[in-house]
């Protein structure tokens, strides 16, 4: 049996096309994926992301424990509500998951992990807590729902939909969150647009979804979520990196914090023993066709592979992430094998699109 979110009935009633995603029955679109994509780039759209799992980590050793568990350094978080993106690595330096961690106090954190990896993440965390003998409590918050409201008008429409939310969240800078009654409102997202991710008790989710709909926020499915995050240059776990991939080869070096030489986080020794050999670049197809994951890339510096690809609704051309040798320069022309034909593509720096604007 597929798992369902608190908004499942709302999606079905809205005529959403439902698909299996990591064991969850989720909306892939409500009609046109491309229209949903454009709604987020030009106005406001919302996504049910309740399949992702929120975890509360509390206790005297919370900061010390997370500094060992995560490749990014939570010691950077000193202001309550501040969020940090990080990989959680295995001892070999492979990526178990990527996640967002919110700091509320030195002994109080919220972690949000991917749906498909949630069970293994919790098992891994509990194993590491036991191994370290850490004085922390890990609480999986299956009682919560999450709605991401994204787009240039997302914040204004959210304030319209949630009375009293403006005063509490208008001052939030990007990557900060504030508790507003039962809701955690975070100025974060996965689209390259401004907006909020709102975590709230499951029972309240349908009413908020309806209020946002009434405020003119377009329901959007996982299809648009994928094309938006690809244009925004954001990795998808399981596709652009996994347990066999070093974050250094997956465009995630910026999330690995090696500054504190004394911080022996899990996977650090493996990363230091095996420096990056590849880099993640964007590709823009110069001929007609569509780039997809797992297409072979031929460059002057050697071969590589696309990890994600699609037709970009904003740019109106095919784009991809490609893991290629370090010697490949931005702006060079490479060839991609698409069904046995080699088509030309140009390498670009990621992201492709940010805040509604093409960057390539």
């Amino acid at each position: 049996m597929a798992r369902i979110t608190p908004l499942h009935a709302v999606h079905v009633a809205a005529g959403a096309r439902m698909v299996d995603f990591a064991g969850w029955d989720m909306p892939v679109n409500y009609g046109s994926q491309i229209e949903e994509h454009h709604a987020v780039r030009s106005d406001a759209g919302m996504f049910d992301v309740s399949h992702m799992l929120a975890l509360d980590l509390t206790g005297a050793d919370a900061t010390v424990f997370l500094r060992t568990l995560l490749a990014n350094d939570v010691a950077k978080l000193t202001v309550p509500g501040k969020a940090l993106y990080s990989c959680m690595l295995n001892a070999e330096g492979g990526v178990i998951d990527d996640l967002i961690v919110y700091y509320f106090a030195a002994d109080t954190f919220r972690i949000v992990v991917n749906a498909g990896t949630a069970d293994k993440d919790v098992a891994w965390m509990r194993k590491q807590i036991a191994r370290a003998g850490a004085n922390v409590t890990l609480d999986a918050r299956g009682d919560l729902a999450m709605i991401a409201v994204q787009g240039p008008n997302a914040r204004a429409k959210t304030w319209h939909a949630i009375p009293g939310s403006e005063s509490a969240s208008a001052g939030l800078k990007p990557f900060f969150a504030a508790q507003v009654g039962d809701m955690l409102i975070a100025r974060t997202g996965y689209t390259g647009e401004d907006g909020f991710e709102i975590t709230l008790p499951a029972a309240q989710a349908p009413d908020l979804w309806q209020a946002l709909t009434a405020a003119g926020v377009a329901p959007c499915g996982l299809g648009a979520r994928d094309t938006l995050r690809l244009e925004a240059g954001m990795n998808l776990y399981g596709q652009d990196m996994d347990e066999a991939t070093s974050p250094l080869n997956a465009g995630l070096s910026w999330t690995v914090d090696l500054k504190d030489a004394d911080r022996a986080f899990i996977g650090r020794a493996a990363l230091e023993a095996a420096p990056a050999t590849q880099q993640m670049l964007g590709l823009v197809l110069l001929e007609r066709g569509v780039l997809r994951a797992h297409q072979q890339v031929f460059t002057d510096a050697g071969e590589g592979e696309t990890t994600s690809g699609t037709f970009s609704p904003t740019l109106q051309q095919a784009i991809a992430f490609a893991r290629v040798p370090l010697g490949v320069a931005v702006g060079s022309t490479v060839e991609v094998d698409i069904r046995g034909k080699r088509l030309k593509a140009r390498t670009v720096k990621l992201p492709f699109v940010r805040n509604g604007q093409a960057l390539i």
Partner: protein
């Protein structure tokens, strides 16, 4: 589900219309376009190409995925729909008006053996 009674069909979701001159026109069904989602690219066969029944001869790509299109019967490709290539979304708008290619069957009887609308409706209902 929109499955016109006068057309023939394949299990792989192509529709086939018999023309008066003995050629056939081929497209994808409404069910297929809906399953694919927004179509953004068509790769159609060149006129003059000889194809076997069931041979991959075209590709329809949506934002979501690429899907192979198969020749419903053996024969010669005589035309591809360049208008649809220039506006792939037209196939979403009307999958039966916006055909993909025309084919001259090697054997007219092969067309008779394709699925009728009722048989295709059973297949489409199952997926």
């Amino acid at each position: 589900m929109n499955i016109p009674a006068e057309l023939k069909y394949t299990k792989s979701h192509e529709w086939i219309r018999r023309e008066d001159d003995g050629t056939v026109t081929v497209g994808i069904t409404d069910h297929a376009q809906e399953a694919l989602g927004d179509i953004v690219f068509l790769d159609l066969p060149e006129a003059g190409r000889m194809v076997a029944a069931g041979e991959e001869c075209a590709v329809v790509e949506s934002v979501k995925a690429a899907s192979d299109i198969y020749a419903p019967v053996a024969g010669e490709i005589i035309a591809a729909n360049d208008d649809a290539v220039d506006a792939p979304e037209s196939v979403n708008a009307d999958a039966y008006a916006n055909w993909l290619f025309k084919l001259k069957p090697a054997n007219a009887a092969d067309v008779d053996a394709l699925l009728d609308a009722a048989a295709y409706a059973d297949i489409a209902a199952d997926n």
